[in-house]
């Protein structure tokens, strides 16, 4: 095998929806200090897929949300083992920005209303 490196991947799941247009780049949003509201009416949920590798997903979580490596890995494992992980919750507009950023990295993200749970 010419490329022997093991590339463990996430597993499959169907996407459902995303959000709306990005008003500000997520990295800028993150720096405003408004991105880490612990609770809110909308959840950003990352779904499992069979293609993107675990290390790639960890990288994306660190990049998009500024997670520490252990936290990024925790969410990655949730996605891997449970098929989904709630990676952020807060206001709808902000959630849309994050969903967009995740789509830019080719991850599958959906938005869910907290009120539905």
């Amino acid at each position: 095998m010419p490329f022997a490196l093991s590339t463990p991947t996430m597993r499959a799941a169907e996407p459902r929806l995303a959000g709306t247009r990005p008003l500000v780049a997520p990295s800028e949003v993150e720096q405003t200090g408004t991105a880490l509201a612990p609770q809110g009416p909308w959840r950003v949920v990352v779904l499992n897929d069979p293609v993107n590798t675990m290390s790639y997903v960890v990288l994306v979580f660190r990049k998009v949300f500024g997670f520490s490596e252990p936290l990024a890995r925790k969410h990655m494992l949730e996605v891997h083992e449970q098929g989904r992980s709630v990676v952020w919750s807060g206001l709808r507009e902000q959630a849309e920005l994050y969903a967009f950023a995740l789509q830019q990295w080719h991850l599958t993200a959906i938005l869910e209303s907290d009120e539905a749970h």
């Binding site: 010419p2 490329f3 490196l5 991947t9």
Partner: protein, 177 residues
């Protein structure tokens, strides 16, 4: 600037480039990751999709640009702080396309396990699978060595300023002669 140069086996990689190019061409017009935008304003949705598509196009052009005339002379591709993020994203997009279109016959569990023997695959699946693994390997190399660049200095990884990696058959520097 951190930089890695990867020596590829031309005889292994060159045959994959046609498929990569064909997949890349398809992705000029469609987003690689599945996307459903049911509940948002149509104008926003269109703008969102257009922006995602534009970004994806730029990523794929950067990736395919690595395999230029110089590559066919020396078999080397280089990754650095300027292209690392773009290339790992492009690899993801292409892998998604390959999985959905060319490797649809394989089960998720097969791909996930990494235990597929190339020789045991039906011939039509062999090149797509080689391509899929190749792109994943490129991603892993970049993430391993250049995650600090992608994360904007947030990583503890202290990769060397200039690393060399061989991505051909284990131990083979270049078997295209």
């Amino acid at each position: 600037m951190k930089r890695i140069e990867v020596k590829l086996s031309l005889s292994v990689v060159a045959p994959l480039l046609d498929l990569m190019k064909a997949s890349s061409d398809v992705l000029e017009a469609q987003i690689a990751a599945p996307l459903t935008l049911d509940d948002i304003d149509a104008d926003f949705r269109d703008e969102w999709k257009a922006e995602l598509l534009q970004g994806q196009q730029e990523e794929l052009r950067a990736l395919m640009g690595l395999f230029n005339s110089d590559f066919f002379i020396n078999g080397v591709v280089a990754f650095d702080e300027d292209n690392a993020e773009t290339i790992v994203r492009a690899c993801s997009a292409l892998r998604l396309r390959l999985r959905r279109h060319d490797l649809a016959a394989l089960e998720d569990e097969q791909l996930e396990s990494g235990g597929i023997e190339l020789e045991e695959l039906p011939e039509p699946l062999q090149k797509p699978y080689m391509c899929y693994v190749f792109l994943g390997t490129i991603q892993e190399l970049i993430i391993q060595h250049l995650d600090t660049a992608i994360l904007g200095g947030k990583s503890d990884d202290q990769a060397d300023d200039a690393d060399g990696d061989d991505l051909g058959d284990e131990g083979d520097e270049d078997d295209d002669n």
